[in-house]
């Protein structure tokens, strides 16, 4: 190979590598990014069966059921619609009624949301940003719940 050919092959190799990395990145973004919904958004959203989403809202008052063992059920509401959620594990310390929460997981065929992670933030005056924005957009935001 001449010097020029060598240099070209190095550049071609580098570009092929970058191309592969870019392709992989965009494929992964399409596949692995999970969308955030509030209960009322779900009526208009078209979800694939088994698609992972993040569901956010307020923990509805009086719906927390601690069954036998380690599974907990509760409803997430945006004051328009409710979704029943089940979760197995330890709830975050700041999980409580009428507080903002974000759950991540998939829908069961019977319409119950099975969460594998539940996030409530580390500050009692704090509402997850997505939930606060969503409530404001729906016009059901109460200033008393903000900071």
């Amino acid at each position: 190979m001449t010097r020029k050919q060598k240099r070209l092959s190095v550049i071609a190799g580098g570009l092929a590598f970058l191309g592969a990395a870019t392709g992989l990145t965009f494929y992964a973004l399409g596949q692995k990014a999970s969308y955030f919904y509030m209960p009322a958004d779900l009526t208009t959203a078209s979800l694939q069966p088994g698609q992972r989403i993040r569901l956010g809202g307020l923990v509805e008052k009086g719906t927390i059921e601690r069954g036998q063992g380690t599974t907990v059920a509760f409803s997430v509401t945006d004051n328009q619609k409710q979704v029943k959620v089940t979760y197995t594990g330890i709830l975050p310390d700041l999980f409580r009624e009428e507080q903002g929460v974000i759950t991540e997981g998939t829908f069961r065929p019977d319409g119950v949301f099975v969460a594998d992670s539940v996030l409530a933030k580390h500050d009692e005056t704090y509402m997850p940003k997505e939930v606060a924005d969503g409530l404001k957009a729906k016009g059901v935001w109460q200033e008393s719940k903000s900071e």
Binding site: K6, V10, G14, F17, L18, A21, L24, T25, Y27, A28, L29, Q31, K32, A33, S34, Y35, F36, R54, R66, Q68, G69, T70, T88, G89, I90, L91, D93, L94, E104, K121, H122, D123, E124, P128, K129, E130, D133, G134, E147
Partner: protein, 663 residues
């Protein structure tokens, strides 16, 4: 005292402006006196910032609640250590710490930079001054930590309980020393662009700064990871949280910079690239500061947020990143390209390293910013989490890690890959053995797990091979070998140690992710549970009282083979009355390099408690490996050619290196 601190901060801002304008102008008209102003001003600016910081720390230590910031983040019942660390456990104080470290590094350049060319020194101090001035202005205009309250409240609102931990004393200072340390590399790069020349002394100066910053950043990230691991009670060591990514991106780019700076120093090649990397690394540090401080991201680190701050930091970001990149685009073509090399050579290996690391940085950057971009464009809210990063970052890292042992053994300019492969046969055999042993003798080991263990051993043995080959193991007499071993440059040991640490961290990650086990169950007092061969008995909940909290301690007995108690593990639920917050303190028992980790959940009405237990094999190696990497950086720093003053001995050889300059 508080007003003195505020006043000192204003003075420091004024001095930073002087430090920016006077030396820059002096270098422009080549006036020695004006250029010499930079040094003393930088040192004084540091002293004033330190005074200001001390004033705030004193207000915290003495619980002076007439200062709004102290009232908001402290409480008189807190232990003294948390009163003091609370100084930077809030937005205002942590920005002050940021600037303190920035001016500290500027003062170091002023103090130890006497052997730098006068114009380079003046320009570096000017750029450093400009960064300091903007951030001081930011603090004074939007985040004043010294605002008073009248009348003064009697009691404070307490520091966020999550932050009441020794981690706060270590993690932010280390992280900032890393983040801000890269500002020196940035200032050197911009100064080189302003002057239009880079020479050997430039590379010799930038490399130790990169090493220092990288060492602290490694420590800061590792400490943050360990803190999150034991404090949050989720048992994870890395969450791909945007804030973690914000510190990880400068680390990846800084690692690339560390390696390309070697090529530049030794072979005076890759000059322009190194310069660009130095700019990008600090730009990512600034971006990280923006992401964490502006409140565009929600996380543990987002203290009270205020939109004007976000806009201000965004302006700083645009000014410095945009300005430096524009300068780069304008001036870089005038710098001459350095030495040529064959693709298969030490330089080639380091270029490969840079290609992979910068691409990995880019994927992390895309994954971190994509949700922000999507929300801005379409109002859809999405999150990009671990699955994305596992799919993109993982495949990029594996080939890089496979290539690591080859790099240090390849010759400069033109290497022989087959000879190197031959030397690595022993390391390869050891890695293969590790794969086989894992696959055959450990229950439930997947092919991936076995290969992962093999990869870690490949890195560890490769690093040892590097030292063995360079001291002539097996080819010369033992006496000669020992002498050669002793005579190896410190930087060779540094490289080997850093790569060894990387191998250990890899082993820890593979061990924890592939062989870890987990159980969630509800337990009554007296119940026992088995996990990966360990038997635990729940003894019950006991109330206890701390200085500013009350807690329920869950006691667990680790039982030996004969049923006797060998250790007691305690996990507790703490309740802080002032903020009405509950936190979970995890219970951890270290066994060898592995850990038994348990975390207490809620108490049910029948008196049982939800308990989550993990067995985490080799997990401590994740952070232990980082410590070894830090030791590697420290070892490289002790190399004779990087020692302050040492370059003068080698001035002759350094002078022979070609320097790039403008016509």
């Amino acid at each position: 005292m508080v007003e003195t601190g505020h006043f000192a901060l204003v003075l420091a801002f004024a001095l930073a402006l002087v430090q920016t304008l006077v030396p820059l102008f002096g270098a422009r008209i080549n006036n020695q006196k004006l250029m010499a102003v930079g040094g003393p001003v930088a040192v004084t600016g540091f002293a004033l910032t330190a005074l200001s910081f001390a004033a705030l720390a004193t207000a915290y230590a003495t619980s002076d609640f007439s200062v709004a910031n102290v009232w908001d983040n402290s409480h008189s019942l807190q232990p003294l250590i948390y009163k003091i660390t609370g100084t930077w456990g809030n937005h205002e104080g942590s920005m002050l710490l940021w600037v303190l470290i920035l001016t500290f590094f500027g003062a170091l350049v002023a103090a130890f930079g006497s052997n730098l060319p006068a114009t380079l020194r003046a320009n570096v101090l000017a750029v450093q001054g400009a960064i300091g001035a903007t951030f001081l202005l930011f603090i004074l205009a939007t985040s004043n930590p010294f605002a008073r309250l009248n009348p003064a409240p009697i009691e404070g609102r307490d520091l966020n309980p999550i932050l009441q931990d020794l981690g706060l004393a270590i993690h932010p200072p280390l992280l900032y020393l890393g983040y801000v340390g890269f500002s020196i590399c940035f200032s050197f790069s911009v100064a080189a662009l302003i002057e239009g020349r880079i020479d050997a002394s430039w590379a010799r100066w930038v490399r130790p700064w990169t090493l220092v910053a990288w060492m602290f950043l490694t420590g800061g990230i590792a400490m943050g990871s360990y803190w999150a691991y034991y404090e949050l009670g989720w048992g994870g060591f890395w969450f791909w949280d945007p804030v973690e990514n914000a510190s990880f991106m400068p680390w990846l780019a800084g690692t690339a910079l560390l390696h390309s700076a070697i090529v530049m120093e030794k072979r005076s090649a890759l000059k322009i690239w190194t310069l660009l990397l130095a700019i990008l690394t600090f730009s990512l540090s600034l971006l990280g500061t923006f992401l964490v401080r502006s409140g565009v991201l929600t996380s543990v680190h987002a203290f009270a947020t205020d939109p004007t701050r976000g806009v201000f930091i965004l302006c700083i970001l645009t000014l410095f990143i945009g300005g430096s990149l524009a300068l780069f685009a304008f001036r870089a073509s005038s710098l001459t390209v350095g030495g040529l090399f064959h693709p298969i050579s030490r330089e080639g290996a380091l270029v490969l390293n840079n290609l992979f690391l910068t691409t990995a940085t880019a994927t992390v950057l895309i994954g971190t910013l994509y949700p922000l971009i999507v929300e801005a464009v379409s109002a859809d809210k999405i999150s990009v989490g671990a699955p994305f990063f596992n799919l993109t970052f993982g495949p990029l890292m594996v080939p890089l890690l496979v290539a690591v042992p080859f790099g240090p053994l390849l010759a400069w300019k033109r290497g022989d890959i087959f000879a190197v492969a031959q030397r690595l046969m022993a390391a390869f055999a050891a890695a293969l053995l590790a794969v086989l042993v894992t696959a055959l003798f450990i229950d439930g080991a997947s092919v991936f797990a076995a290969l992962g263990v093999g990869l870690a051993f490949w890195l560890i043995c490769g690093a040892l091979t590097d030292i063995a080959v360079k001291s002539g193991f097996g080819s010369v007499a033992p006496g000669t070998m020992l002498r050669r071993f002793g005579g190896l440059p410190r930087s060779v040991f540094g490289t080997a140690l850093a790569h060894l640490g990387l191998g250990l961290t890899t082993l820890g990650i593979v061990g924890t992710l592939c062989f870890g086990t987990e159980k969630i169950l509800s337990m009554h007092a007296g119940d026992t549970v088995q996990l990966s061969g360990h038997t635990l008995r729940f003894e019950g909940l006991y109330p206890a009282q701390g200085p500013n909290y009350s807690e329920d301690r869950g006691r667990f007995a680790l039982l030996g083979a004969d049923g006797s108690t060998t250790a007691v593990i305690t996990s507790s639920k703490r309740s802080y009355p002032v903020r009405q917050m509950t936190t979970t303190e995890s219970g951890i028992k270290t066994i060898g390099f592995s850990q038994l980790y348990l975390s207490l959940g809620d108490e049910a009405s029948d008196g049982s408690v939800v308990v989550r237990l993990w067995w985490k094999p080799l997990v401590t190696l994740i952070w232990g490996g980082s410590l070894v990497m830090m030791a590697g950086a420290a070892m490289s720093l002790m190399d004779r050619r990087l020692r302050v003053g040492a370059p003068s001995r080698r001035r002759k050889s350094a002078g022979a290196m070609p320097s790039a300059s403008l016509p």
